[in-house]
């Protein structure tokens, strides 16, 4: 019998007080319903108010897409949730701990439970991809042996869909798509329960973007992730998001499935989902669904008819 003695004696004493709002021990995963809970958030830069009275809850185990026009503060919302942007007012709870009012140590207590993929990847340019993945591991779990740390870095890189050789390459030697995957590998380094993705498919070609979507869905299912996903990509919304939050008028005006959102009578939502690009993404999605059932005669005929009509128009 072997066990880790005195590993977190300090956490043990802290845990007893305050049963409702307790610090998660390092041996536990979050079991609550809403890992992210934002209430009455207000953000502003100078005179310009970005968010006003914004509420948002993210359910455990879902992929929540966040959409909104340029400048509606999608990235600011993400930065507020991960504690990079101090809001003017409002309450943000992550894993049941307050990000806004808690003291810095408590905030650190949740930092090893989330992974963030920034828009440009934000890889440390002086380190190789593998070393980038090792940075959070070494920071939070220095007790892991050198060998295991290397192994974890290697399988995380493979898990993110990068080839084996990429592990000892520098970020500058990778293409844009590979850099995103490397950023994802680093975001996954600590086996987070919560993953923040800021426009993961922006700047990728359609094939790469589709592959990235698929990867995120697979990872979410295999690892049991909750994903907070900022995107402009309509295909991503249709393909992988369980729910979509729409940012407009300085708050979240609706959170629902894409199907239900399209029925809402809001000018921006109508424009967004029922505009030419929105309809194209929807048609593609419908065709995909039909093709999956090609063995059924009705579906096969429908696909043929749709394909032919598309050709006829062109």
């Amino acid at each position: 019998m072997a066990s880790g003695p005195a590993l977190d004696a300090a956490a043990g004493t802290r845990e007893e007080d305050g049963a409702g709002d307790r610090v998660l021990g390092r041996h536990e995963r979050y079991r609550g319903k809403f890992p992210i809970n934002v209430q009455g958030l207000r953000n502003s830069f100078g005179d310009q108010v970005i968010h006003e009275d914004l509420d948002l809850s993210v359910r455990r185990g879902e992929i929540l897409g966040v959409v909104g026009g340029s400048g509606t503060g999608k990235s600011v919302l993400m930065r507020s949730i991960i504690g990079l942007q101090i809001p003017d007012a409002g309450q943000i709870d992550v894993f049941g701990r307050s990000i806004t009012t808690g003291d810095p140590d408590d905030v650190v207590g949740v930092r090893n439970r989330w992974g963030v993929l920034f828009q440009g990847g934000a890889l440390f340019s002086t380190l190789t991809v593998g070393e980038n993945v090792e940075v959070p591991l070494r920071k939070f779990y220095p007790e892991l042996s050198e060998k295991l740390t290397h192994e974890i870095a290697r399988y995380k890189v493979r898990l993110s869909g990068l080839p084996e050789e990429a592990v000892n390459k520098y970020p500058s030697e990778l293409s844009g798509g590979m850099r995103k995957r490397a950023g994802l590998a680093r975001a996954l380094a600590l086996d987070p329960e919560l993953l923040f993705l800021d426009e993961p498919t922006a700047g990728l070609d359609p094939i790469g973007a589709a592959a990235f979507d698929e990867l995120i869905r697979e990872l979410k299912e295999a690892l049991g992730l909750t994903v907070f996903l900022i995107t402009h990509d309509l295909d991503t919304l249709h393909e992988i998001c369980d729910r979509v939050a729409v940012l407009a008028d300085r708050r979240v005006i609706a959170v629902d499935t894409v199907q239900r959102l399209m029925e809402l009578d809001h000018p921006w939502i109508q424009e967004y989902f029922n505009g030419p690009r929105g309809r194209a993404a929807l048609t593609a999605q419908a065709l995909d669904e039909l093709r999956k059932h090609m063995d059924m005669p009705i579906a096969a005929n429908a696909v043929k008819a749709l394909d032919n009509s598309a050709k006829g128009k062109a």
């Binding site: 066990s3 590993l7 340019s125 090792e134 779990y141 892991l144 974890i152 898990l159 086996d191 690892l223």
Partner: protein, 370 residues
């Protein structure tokens, strides 16, 4: 709830032993048992996961690899654990996490070779840049209307007018230091009055222009490199070219002209400020009245000392501006290069200025302006 990862080996009825794992097997907890786990259980034929409370990829990785290396089977995994082990188990990979690094004996010669090679391409680059510059000057002389007048005036302001406070303060302080330190030494020979000669000649001939050139290299040379380099990165320069604007005419020539012209003005201003600083010390510490100090300067400093300084000034300005613009135009690839090239612009400009200054010193002495 158990809080530590643990394992136990029991001899079962069947062939081989069973290892029962319990508690959370997470990246945060496996560190404590990892070493024992790797060594334990030589003859284990079965891993029983039914008592594991939590698992993540790190736990799955350890278990999958242990099972694989011992040829053991995994039992009692719940749905999530099974999925994790299946996903992670197939991701075996070998190889180093850090970039390959050659030995010292390879790296030193390699680096030296690289430097020599770069020196060659650097020489080509400078020649090419000078050629393009001369062509651009020629085309502006032929078509004076293409001269970017507004940019030139703007650069005059940035290089010259904005530098007045800092150059003035620096020169004033240098004048003070020379006068004060010189006076202490000269007092040993009872020749404090020679402080006037010291301050006047050294600031006019050498320090005024030299220190100004160093300051301009730090202020403007670096700014040229960073501005042009950033424009290069954001493809502004390419955009200019496609519209038919020559970046040489629009960016480089105004900067170089402004720098050359302003170096003369700033150099002269610096000399004046340094002498004022010296006179200030003379008045305060040496008992030489302010006006007398200035009058003595006129008597003891030959006029060619001023020419020595003012002839050097535009040359130094040219070097500083050339280094800045050339390094800016050489930026390619990533933003890191901008920083690198900016540093290079300042260092090479200051180095070239000091080397040239030495040549000038010898030259002017030889021609009798000593």
């Amino acid at each position: 709830m158990e809080r530590y990862a643990a394992f136990e080996v029991t001899e079962g009825d069947g062939p081989g032993a069973t290892m029962t794992l319990s508690g959370p097997w997470l990246v945060s907890t496996v560190g404590a048992v990892e070493g024992d786990f790797a060594q334990a259980g030589e003859g284990v034929a079965r891993f029983d996961l039914s008592r594991i409370t939590e698992m993540d990829t790190a736990g799955a990785w350890l278990i999958a690899r242990a099972a694989q290396s011992r040829g053991a089977e995994i039992a009692g995994a719940n749905e999530r654990a099974g999925r994790l082990i299946e996903t992670i188990g197939g991701l075996e990979s070998e190889g180093d996490v850090s970039a390959p690094r050659a030995g010292l004996l390879t790296r030193v010669p390699e680096r030296m070779g690289e430097m020599i090679y770069n020196a060659r391409s650097g020489t080509y680059g400078i020649m090419g840049f000078l050629g393009a510059l001369i062509l651009a000057v020629g085309s502006i002389v032929r078509h004076p209307r293409r001269f970017a007048g507004k940019a030139f005036v703007r650069q005059l302001e940035l290089v010259g007018v904005s530098a007045l406070p800092i150059v003035g303060l620096m020169s004033f302080l240098i004048g003070i230091v020379i006068a004060q330190q010189g006076a202490v030494q000269l007092a040993q020979f009872g020749a404090e009055t020679l402080t006037v000669n010291l301050v006047g000649r050294i600031t006019l001939r050498e320090l005024g222009v030299l220190m100004t050139a160093i300051m301009v290299a730090g202020r403007s040379g670096s700014a040229f490199a960073a501005q042009i380099g950033t424009m290069k990165l954001t493809e502004e320069i390419d955009a200019m070219r496609t519209i038919g604007i020559s970046p040489m005419e629009a960016l480089v020539i105004p900067r170089i002209l402004a720098c050359v012209f302003m170096m003369i003005v700033l150099g002269f201003y610096s000399m004046v400020m340094a002498i004022l600083g010296g006179a200030f010390v003379g008045d305060l510490l040496l008992g030489i009245p302010f006006a007398t100090f200035l009058a003595r300067i006129q008597e003891v400093v030959p006029i060619y000392d001023l020419w020595v300084g003012l002839i050097k000034a535009p040359v130094f300005g040219l070097i500083v501006a050339l280094a800045g613009c050339y390094n800016g135009m050489q930026v390619k690839g990533n933003s890191e290069e901008v920083g690198l090239r900016t540093t290079m612009a300042v260092v090479s400009a200051i180095f070239a200025v000091i080397v040239l200054d030495a040549f000038f010193a010898v030259f002017f002495t030889k021609v009798g302006w000593s």
